[in-house]
């Protein structure tokens, strides 16, 4: 036994971690999904909230980027009109491969509350760009967004290690409130 002061893991021979380079890069990519700073409606507020201190999406390595050229991931958060959809497509075109798209909220999924009575709202961004993860909700809670991101990370790792890209989109299921029932409705003060 060497120095008893030396805690496990600190000894020089224990700091070496052997791995394949591909796996290491995949791990790095998976944990640094930079997303495009882009939101169009109320879901965008929820996206900002996911970046706030309570949910802190930064801890997943998700840093917003102001230009599509530096972004891996586009979170389409909010209502997309026909006019906007062509801009979304333009942004998507400017992102580098491999690019990922998360459709956040009913509007981006299918037109949401506007799907039937609006002349201007696009009924689903998947008509313009391929979507990897759908998150239902109006708006989805930040937990749902994080759930979607976790599902996406699985895909990113799979793609980075095996080169296979899952074709069928993932749909996030209903989300339990993370902080208990009080999260759903405010406490009654009498």
């Amino acid at each position: 036994m060497a120095d008893p002061q030396c805690r496990p893991g600190n000894a020089s021979h224990e700091q070496i971690h052997l791995t394949a380079v591909d796996e290491f890069l995949a791990w790095g990519k998976e944990h640094s999904l930079f997303y495009l700073l882009f939101a169009t409606a109320c879901c965008g507020i929820e996206l900002m909230q996911a970046g706030g201190p309570r949910y802190d999406i930064d801890r997943l390595g998700m840093i917003p980027r102001a230009t599509p050229r530096q972004a891996d991931l586009m979170i389409v958060a909010g209502t997309i009109t026909h006019k906007m959809a062509e801009r979304v497509k333009l942004l998507w075109d400017q992102m580098t491969e491999p690019r990922w798209v998360v459709s956040m909220g009913s509007c981006a999924n299918s037109g949401g509350p506007f799907s039937k009575w609006s002349y201007s709202v696009l009924n689903g961004i998947d008509k313009y760009v391929p979507v990897d993860v759908y998150i239902p909700g109006c708006p989805p809670r930040p937990e749902a967004l994080i759930d979607g991101v976790m599902a996406l990370r699985e895909r990113v790792r799979l793609y980075r290690t095996t080169g296979q890209r899952t074709k069928t989109p993932h749909v996030v299921a209903g989300i339990e409130p993370a902080f208990g029932a009080h999260h759903e409705k405010p406490e009654q003060k009498t």
């Binding site: 026909h82 062509e86 299918s110 799907s115 039937k116 201007s120 009924n123």
Partner: protein, 181 residues
């Protein structure tokens, strides 16, 4: 904030703009109704009059009188100016009609520059052409959009740039069902 009584203003302006009328909306709000020919002169007078001084255009909007539940049926487009005086702290509404077939009004952007954007909006959504406007383009819909969406007889487009407005298996309600609402 007080809405100005329309009758005294109308009496005062009648000399210069004879088509002026003091009216009230269904919910009792007074407004001035004027023919398009007198519109710009009236608004200029309202802006420059010492006792009125409507120095701000709060809003310029429009509504379609087709199928409008009013007593006198009409198919005109009604344009509405909402004026506000920072000096006297009172407000006033001015309305005029543009015929549906030849939908033209004189521009009021010379009276308040704020009207430039408002008139583009009214042009985009109601198809009112403002004669003399410096830059009358669509402001909300794409430039190549067909039709003016807030008109009551607007027909929903089926596609835009080849992209359908509907999801698979979805269809717009038939016209009679929509009219029954």
């Amino acid at each position: 904030m007080t809405a100005l009584a329309a009758e005294p203003v109308a009496a005062r302006m009648r000399q210069r703009t004879p088509s002026i009328e003091a009216r009230t909306t269904e919910n009792g709000q007074p407004f001035l109704f004027v023919a398009p020919a007198d519109l710009v002169l009236l608004l200029t007078l309202l802006r420059d009059d010492e006792d009125l001084r409507f120095d701000a255009l709060m809003d310029l909007t429009a509504y379609d009188l087709l199928k409008y539940p009013a007593k006198a049926p009409s198919d005109a487009i009604c344009a509405v100016w909402l004026l506000w005086s920072h000096v006297h702290r009172h407000e006033l509404m001015v309305q005029t009609h543009a015929a549906r077939s030849d939908c033209r009004l004189p521009t009021t952007s010379g009276v308040w520059p704020a009207a430039i954007y408002f008139e583009r909006e009214v042009f985009d959504l109601y198809g009112v052409h403002f004669d003399g406007h410096p830059d009358l383009r669509r402001i909300m819909c794409p430039q190549d959009w067909v039709g003016h969406p807030l008109r009551k007889d607007y027909v929903y487009p089926a596609t835009y740039h080849g992209v359908s407005h509907l999801r698979d298996g979805q269809h717009f309600e038939s016209q009679p069902a929509r009219e029954a609402r």
